[in-house]
Amino acid sequence: MGDSQSEELIPTVNSNEQIIIETQGLTREFNETLAVDSLDLSIRRGELFGLVGPDGAGKTTTLRLLTGLLKITSGSGSLAGFDLATQPEEIKRHIGYMAQEFSLYSELTVLENLRFFSELFDVAAEDFALRSEHLLEFAALSPFRNRRADHLSGGMQKMLALASTLIHEHEILILDEPTTGVDPISRREFWDILAELYDNRTTVIVSTPYMDEADRCSRVGLMYEGRMVVCDSPEAIRDQLEGEVVHVRPDDWQAARVVLGELPGILETQSYGESIHLLVDSAEVRIPEIELALKENGVGIKEIRPAPARMEEAFISLIRGLAAHEDAPEKP
């Protein structure tokens, strides 16, 4: 795969100065709970880095530590050459940050929100005129420039939040779950815009609970219970998945799950709406066995086929492995 090769080439071609964000043992405690546990992170200039993981994994805390909004409990880190612990105000000048619940000022119009943030970031008035036009176009908000923010749809609000974040020039864009609660079409548009930024060589760090979005990143870090479980390109993460995926759509989902749970060679079952994704050691061998077992138990099959492994399967599998590992020693 071409992408993963070029990923590996970058550090050798470019020197270490291309590392724009780096942390060593970054840790943050809340009341003796480790929200972020000894995180080692190294992000190169121009990456579109995805931070994924279930709710409570520590994604938001990590991003807040990187923006200087939260104090570090232990460890160290730097962003654009500034120390996370001692230079939070310098860092703020170099980043665009969109908080998870980015709230716009609901009584202000689209344009007024943009102007407010441009002034706080000392954008010159002439630059503001140009940039705001461009961004409104970009975010498809031009017709709504004089509409109050609270009268925009959820998707448009996210677009405005992104535009407000982009209103000033910065080297690094940090976005905390920018697409949570947004409809699929707006999500796609949002990611198209991010992809364009990535092409412009802005460094983007984005957290998301959606695994399909992780596929669009150049590199992905999976967080679980405050720790970075895996950090690699999407292709490499998919390759880590042992076995193959079989997609089954039975007519009786409940019965099918019971039957499938007893079959040999099935490593995992994951539910997808009416379908079941099975992680098997070999699709070729197991598909006929699955068909037979379901038929014998009177479960009809609407569809059965081998499916490509997606990030989703890979992550769920990884996390389940970890959870099982953790549970084991606690059992007497």
């Binding site: 909004l69 939260l70 939070p88 105000e89 908080a99 102007r115 407010f116 943030f117």
Partner: protein, 377 residues
């Protein structure tokens, strides 16, 4: 310190005040409404207190006395009774607040200059009407005795060398009719200007709850810029109230405005600076709007009511409370408002209070700035 940053926050805040209905009501209408409500409710003149009379004497003099006492609007003769039990029944039912008992020999004692055998029973559960009645009866009785005495002297042929036995002339300067309203209303202005302070506390808590504060913290704005940007718009709306309220006081309550309006306006701006500093401290420490609201009542409104000398003279407070009163902007502003409205004094007298307010404002703002962190958690 970037003026552009401050101005950006000021403009945003003014747009918020003008467009958010609840904030608009809170800062621009509530002070006026509260002022009217309190002025009417707290300063009602006591009138028409119902009394019962138990007259054991039944003489022309005693009847004459009862008639004189109930002649005005102050005391109304509710019932003539013939026993103590009846008085008790009426008091218990709440039909009367006060009862007068004229002892046997009432007329005889007065005629022989032995005094006036009169008993007043008041309903202790409502001491205000009672105290009013006692004062009123005493005053009328004195008048009645003076008349009786003069009549006696006249009958004896003595017309010279005798004056009224009691001749105390009380004259209340600056408030000739001693109407409570006149001295309360200027004091109440300092209370109702607590609303802009409450609003500034709420707006900080609101931004924290709403997530916009996190966004602001991730911008290069400094703490001082943000706090000043928050404060200035509320000083401006407070000053709108400073224009409206004196007009209302003069038109509706006939309060004199004897001083200089410019002086009043300037000192009011300094007062707003100080009280908004308190509001900012509350907003910095309280994480949610309900908490900010509760603390505003505890720190701004309750002390503003009871400790700034509007209702109770500061001189009669225990020493600890007197010290606390000095730290309250309302204490100094109450002196300023009374001075400007009633006494008509100017800066030559009031400047120390202005200096105190400015000092308090600087201290409050410094505390707010010190504890406001551009960090979460």
């Amino acid at each position: 310190m970037s003026l552009r940053h401050i101005f950006a926050v000021v403009r945003k805040e003014i747009q918020h005040i003008l467009r958010d209905r609840s904030t608009f009501v809170l800062v621009l209408l509530a002070p006026t409404a509260m002022m009217l409500l309190m002025a009417y409710a707290l300063t009602v003149d006591i009138q028409h207190v119902p009394i019962a009379v138990l007259d054991y004497d039944r003489s022309p003099t005693s009847r004459n006395f009862v008639q004189q006492i109930t002649a005005g609007d102050d005391l109304d003769l509710y019932a003539q009774v013939s026993s103590l039990e009846e008085i008790e029944t009426l008091l218990m039912r709440g039909e009367i607040k006060v009862a007068l008992i004229l002892a046997p020999g009432f007329a005889r004692d007065i005629r022989s200059l032995r005094g006036m055998p009169l008993q007043i029973i008041i309903d202790g559960t409502e001491p205000q009407s009672g105290a009013f009645a006692v004062e009123h009866v005493g005053w009328r009785a004195e008048e009645f005795l003076n008349q009786a005495l003069s009549a006696q002297m006249g009958a004896l042929g003595v017309t010279q060398g005798i004056s009224q036995p009691i001749d105390l002339r009380v004259r209340a300067w600056y408030n000739p009719s001693l109407k409570p309203r006149v001295d309360m209303i200027p004091g109440l202005i300092s209370m109702v200007l607590g609303f802009p302070a409450l609003s500034v506390a709420l707006t900080l808590a609101h931004e924290r709850e709403h997530g916009t504060l996190e966004q602001l913290m991730a911008t290069p704005i400094t703490r001082a810029e943000l706090l000043l940007g928050k404060m200035i718009p509320y000083i401006l709306v407070g000053l709108v109230n400073v224009i409206i309220i004196p007009l209302l006081a003069m038109l509706l309550f006939r309060i004199p405005f004897n001083g200089n309006f410019i002086v009043f306006f300037l000192l009011s701006a300094v007062f707003l600076f100080a009280i908004l500093g308190m509001g900012l401290i509350i907003g910095v420490f309280m994480k949610t709007q309900p908490a900010a609201l509760a603390l505003s009542f505890l720190l701004i409104f309750f002390p503003g009511f009871f400790m700034t000398g509007i209702f109770f003279p500061i001189a009669s407070m225990p020493e600890v409370m007197r010290m606390e009163a000095l730290a309250l902007p309302g204490t100094h502003y109450a002196i300023i408002t009374r001075g400007v409205f009633l006494t008509g004094v100017g800066l030559e007298v009031l400047w120390p209070y202005g200096v105190m307010l400015a000092g308090l404002g600087v201290i409050f703002l410094a505390i707010a700035g010190l504890f406001f962190r551009k960090r979460l958690g």
